[in-house]
Amino acid sequence: MAEADLPPIAGKAPAGAPPESAPPAPSPGRTIKPPRTRYPRLESVLRQLGAALLTLLVISTVTFAATNIKSPTEVARNALGRETSEAQLQAYVEQHGLDDPFYVRYGSWLKDFVQGDWGTSAVTGRDVRADVLPRLGKTLLLSLIALGIALPISVLLGVFMARRVGSWQDLSLLITTVLLAALPEFVVGIGLLMLFAVWLGWLPVDSTSLSFGTTVEKAKAYILPALTLVIAMVPYIARIARGAAQESLAAPYTQAALLRGLSRRTVIWDHAMRNAAVPLVNAVAINLVYLLSGVIVVENVFAFPGIGQALVQAIGQGDTITVQAIALVMGAMFIAISLAADLLVVYFNPRLKAATA
């Protein structure tokens, strides 16, 4: 779901000009304070790890709370079927500890989960972990492929636009991003499906061949889902990149470098974009979680056998245990990827480097 506090234009805060938003508004663990200790890098890495763990904890709490709103007998009836006697229901409730207070059940669920016991699905009767893990690999690969393509394209587009602010190329690209950003992922996916699979017949209409096809078929099954995600992400990231590039191209040090007679390529990529990298990666990291949610939708459009498809399926079937497991795994995956982006920010931030000397 490409939805976020994404800057609509030029990296500026959504709608309007609250000056407070000019440096990204404080978000836990993502603001990088000036160094105080001798190991600023280590400290900021630790802080971000802490924030990531905290976020995971919140996701797990919300997931567990939301999926435990039903009364214990209702859960038992769902698991055992409608034709069950009161005594049987009672026995099931006691056996699974459904009557225990919330924090006790949450604690034991989380403990089991961390130890690798993800439970057995009441709907399919299979081990959830064995079902989810192979799917996770595919979803992760799909997300990384999409990111790997979307990021460089967005940065190049952003720089291209920032160098020509106000020109017709810039404006038409901006309008294109507005149009693309307004399209839900599934509409983009259906459009690509229509074009490449139905009319041109180049690619398969779904990604089911991932489960049984040959290597080439498997590779082909990734193309359309990845392309859809790329089209969903590029409009947002390109705008952030444009804003960041525009700002650093206008900065005095860029002018100075230009006046010193350095080549344009050196000025743009070595001076301007190196400084633009911090706000850029920062903004991307914040929005990554939202952008990656699109993978849930895309998997369902293309019948891609990943965890997003399994999640929606499990919700439809009322398979609570699977929903819990996938929500937590998916949350962890999103957070891990955006943590990686955060760590890149630390790497790029020169202020954190200087203090170690």
């Binding site: 709608a15 000056p19 992922e185 230009l258 849930i296 369902n300 919700i315």
Partner: protein, 307 residues
């Protein structure tokens, strides 16, 4: 909110208002901004067309949108069925004309709710500062760490699908986002003398926020409202597509896309028509939002080195 402000603007005598280049983006100029901008005009016309289809399309359906077998199954456009029929022999054109309700009404209600709750909290935080602001901001930050689609899916998994669940969860997603934007906008103006004057007059906080602060942050608020509507339309359409929003047999564009996806090669119109409907509706709002935002940020090429 926007319409009343626009009305005030219309009543204002035009020639008396000096229009300068550096004129502050005034709340009353939101409507004029949309009108006086090609992007906004296109958005407005497109939005009006889609609104017409969604509101009045139901009166022009050639067949019942839910009746099975009014024609042969899964055939392309003909004179009897302008957009063909779907796999259950229902008339796609009739379903198209009646399928836009959810993705217009749910986003409008949900975003309005988000503005009422999130917006007031954000304004209060920026106005009150100190501990109240800290509590509100931390809560927003916490909610912002949750991936929206995942959050909504998990809640739907627990509570089941219904319109109320849909509205409340979508509103919940937008509360911290709207709150943060309005908090920022309020912070920018809260130090102005008119706020101090109102405080000196001894006005209550609610009245200061409503009568002094709100009119002065109306412009960013309206632009943000349009933007949130776009996101909410995408969101709700997506949930419908996933089968977790509107439920069959109700005609709904997202649901129609999902149902007819497997027959894409045989009867593409059953998929493309509702997909186009969703796209047009959300594009129209996004164009309006973009026109407003661009006006507010006053983007110019000033100060940019032509590298």
């Amino acid at each position: 909110m926007s319409s009343t402000l626009a009305d005030v603007d219309v009543l204002e005598p035009e020639p008396l208002r000096p229009i300068e280049d550096d004129d502050e983006a005034r709340p009353a100029s939101a409507w004029r901004t949309i009108i006086g901008n090609v992007e906004g005009q296109i958005g407005l016309v497109l939005g009006a067309i889609m609104l017409g289809i969604i509101l009045f399309g139901r009166f022009f359906t050639p067949y019942s949108p839910t009746e099975l077998g009014v024609g042969p199954q899964t055939v392309g456009p003909s004179t009897e069925h302008l957009l063909g029929t779907d796999n259950l022999g229902r008339d796609v054109f009739s379903r198209f004309l009646t399928g836009g309700d959810t993705i217009l009404i749910v986003p409008l209600v949900a975003v309005t709710l988000a503005f009422l709750f999130g917006g007031s909290l954000g304004m209060l935080g920026a106005y009150a500062r100190g501990r109240i602001d800290a509590v509100i901001s931390r809560t927003f930050d916490l909610l912002l760490t949750l991936p929206p689609l995942l959050l909504v899916l998990v809640i739907i998994a627990g509570l089941g699908t219904s319109t109320i669940v849909l509205v409340v969860t979508v509103a919940l997603v937008f509360v911290p986002r709207v709150g943060r934007v309005l908090r920022g906008a309020t912070q920018a103006i809260v130090t102005n003398d008119y706020v101090a004057a109102a405080q000196a007059r001894g006005e209550r906080t609610a009245s200061i926020l409503g009568r002094e602060v709100l009119p002065n942050i109306a412009a960013p608020a309206i632009a943000d409202f349009a933007l949130r509507i776009t996101y909410a339309i995408i969101f709700v359409a997506t949930l419908n597509f996933l089968g977790l929003g509107a439920q069959p047999p109700d005609p709904d564009w997202g649901l129609m896309v999902a149902d007819s996806r497997n027959f894409l090669s045989v009867q593409p119109w059953a998929t493309l028509a509702p997909a186009a409907g969703i796209a047009a509706l959300s594009i129209s709002f996004n164009l309006i939002a973009d026109a407003l935002t661009r006006h507010l940020t006053r983007e110019t090429s000033k100060g940019v080195v032509p590298v």
